[in-house]
């Protein structure tokens, strides 16, 4: 109990950030139309690719002859980058289609 209280005391700012972020995430998403569920999931998927920063830090802190860590870190950076780049590109491709749909509509309205 004491350790828990100490932890809360020591990390109060952190706890605020965590709790507020949770509410923010819920609030930001809660009114999304079902049409956008897939692109939104894909976009959120790209955002958690921010984990790549952790893998960069792992590699940056490893000494140049620590091969096991370097190997793991190397793979981690690769897959992290795949997550980030692939995620954003795929989301953009999905949303691009929504846009052309809209453009053709506005063009048609203009043509009429």
């Amino acid at each position: 109990m004491q350790t828990l209280l100490n932890f809360i005391q020591a990390n109060l700012e952190l706890l605020y950030v965590v709790i507020l972020s949770v509410f923010l995430g819920i609030e930001v998403i809660s009114r999304v139309p079902s049409v956008l569920h897939t692109p939104l999931m894909s976009g959120a998927n790209a955002i958690h690719g921010v984990i790549i920063i952790g893998s960069i830090i792992v590699m940056g802190e490893a000494s140049a002859d620590n091969y096991p860590v370097l190997a793991l870190g190397f793979i981690a950076v690769i897959v992290g980058t795949i997550n980030v780049v692939g995620g954003f590109v795929v989301t953009d491709r999905m949303l691009e289609m929504f846009k052309t749909g809209k453009d053709t509509r506005s063009k048609r309205i203009k043509d009429n």
């Binding site: 932890f7 990390n11 952190l14 965590v18 972020s21 949770v22 995430g25 819920i26 930001v28 998403i29 809660s30 999304v32 956008l36 569920h37 692109p39 939104l40 999931m41 894909s42 976009g43 998927n45 955002i47 958690h48 921010v50 984990i51 790549i52 920063i53 952790g54 893998s55 830090i57 792992v58 590699m59 940056g60 802190e61 490893a62 140049a64 870190g73 981690a76 950076v77 690769i78 897959v79 992290g80 980058t81 795949i82 997550n83 980030v84 692939g86 995620g87 954003f88 795929v90 989301t91 953009d92 491709r93 999905m94 949303l95 289609m97 929504f98 846009k99 052309t100 749909g101 048609r108």
Partner: protein, 465 residues
Amino acid sequence: MQASILAICYLIGSVSFIIGLKMLSHPATARRGNLVSAAGMGIAILGTLFLYRPQGTTFHNFTWIAAAMAIGAVIGAVSARKVKMTAMPEMVSLFNGMGGLCAALISIVELGRIAQDHTDMHVLSILAGMVIGCVSFTGSMIAYGKLRGKIKDHTFRGQHIVNMAVLLLIIAIGVFIIRGSGAVPGYIFYSFLAMSIGYGILFVLPIGGADMPVVISLLNSFTGIATACAGFLYNNQVMLTGGILVGSAGAILTILMCKAMNRSLTNVLIGSFGSAGTGSARIADGEQGTFREISLNDAAMVMGYAHKVMIVPGYGLAVAQAQHACHELGKLLQKNGVEVKYAIHPVAGRMPGHMNVLLAEADVSYDDLLELEQANEEFNSTDVVLILGANDVVNPAARDDPSSPIYGMPVLEVWNAKLVIVNKRSMRPGYAGIENQLFFQSNTSMLFGNAKHVLTQLVTLVKEL
């Protein structure tokens, strides 16, 4: 100086994630929202590369990092560019798995160098990151395999008990590692790792393929939490806020998806769906009742001379890549003076919004897409409904049969139209494994065949009318 610039980079990153997600949830701003988050991500990554120099330590292996990033960027960009729109859900699952793997690898490295000055909370966040990352990785891979059709659903008696036991064992070992001090013995570490990997497989394997979107969304949320754990470990604000944001947004999205299918998350996870064999909705093989077939010629005829045709796309359209053929038929009929609309069920296909994405790719106008409620109002005045590989979303059992597993799910009430033409490859039941009474109703006719094939032939025949 450097450190404060880096902190500002991270702040910009965090804010851009929030704004990006917000913009992503409105159709008009969605694409820009994605770019905003991507830009924020770029700033945070570049900042880390060039400014992360804590307490005078040197930053090693810059070339290796750059090389790995280049490899990853090429693989990610090329696969994301090349993937067919129909395979989008698998792709998202695969990318999510990559994120999970990244989190797991980071935790493995960090666990290997636990020092005395690590607090229990740090060890806990390393272990949590490892378990959640592994589960997210293997779970996503299984989900990918299922969506590709390479992995079938596997259930065995007492699977939930086994799953629960594995989970409890993981927690027990985790507590043991936290309680112990210093280095973790190899065999404990490897069994912990193996069980985390195994749990991801056990967790997703029994869940039916039709529920994979919900699972992917949930695993997406998991990876977010794993990211937040790593953020806590490195005291890195952008990882922490980004991770938590995705974790909570992903959880809400998962619940919204379940709601669209009128089911609870527990129902999906326990997976009573795929294995349920009870209830009168399921008719034993061999006593299916009688159905009528319609020839291509007749189908072209009734649609060509109808006043109003409603097209209901489903997964069959997606697997057959028939979205362009579908739009062509729609355009042709419209040119002939037929009113053509598309009725989109929110969970038609393999992912919510899947059909909208596909039809948008084929340039179908937004005005012609009707949502569930609008479509249901219009079926009464519709002459012909053409169902393309949809099944569960047009099943009357969802309305009429309380014993059906999909009872209560909002469905497209196509049976109110004068004539229903159902295009399927065979009489096999849909993904949920439930028989569909619609096929045996007097105003329903079956048109068997691959959707693309059938649609191209229909186009030719309607032209000849």
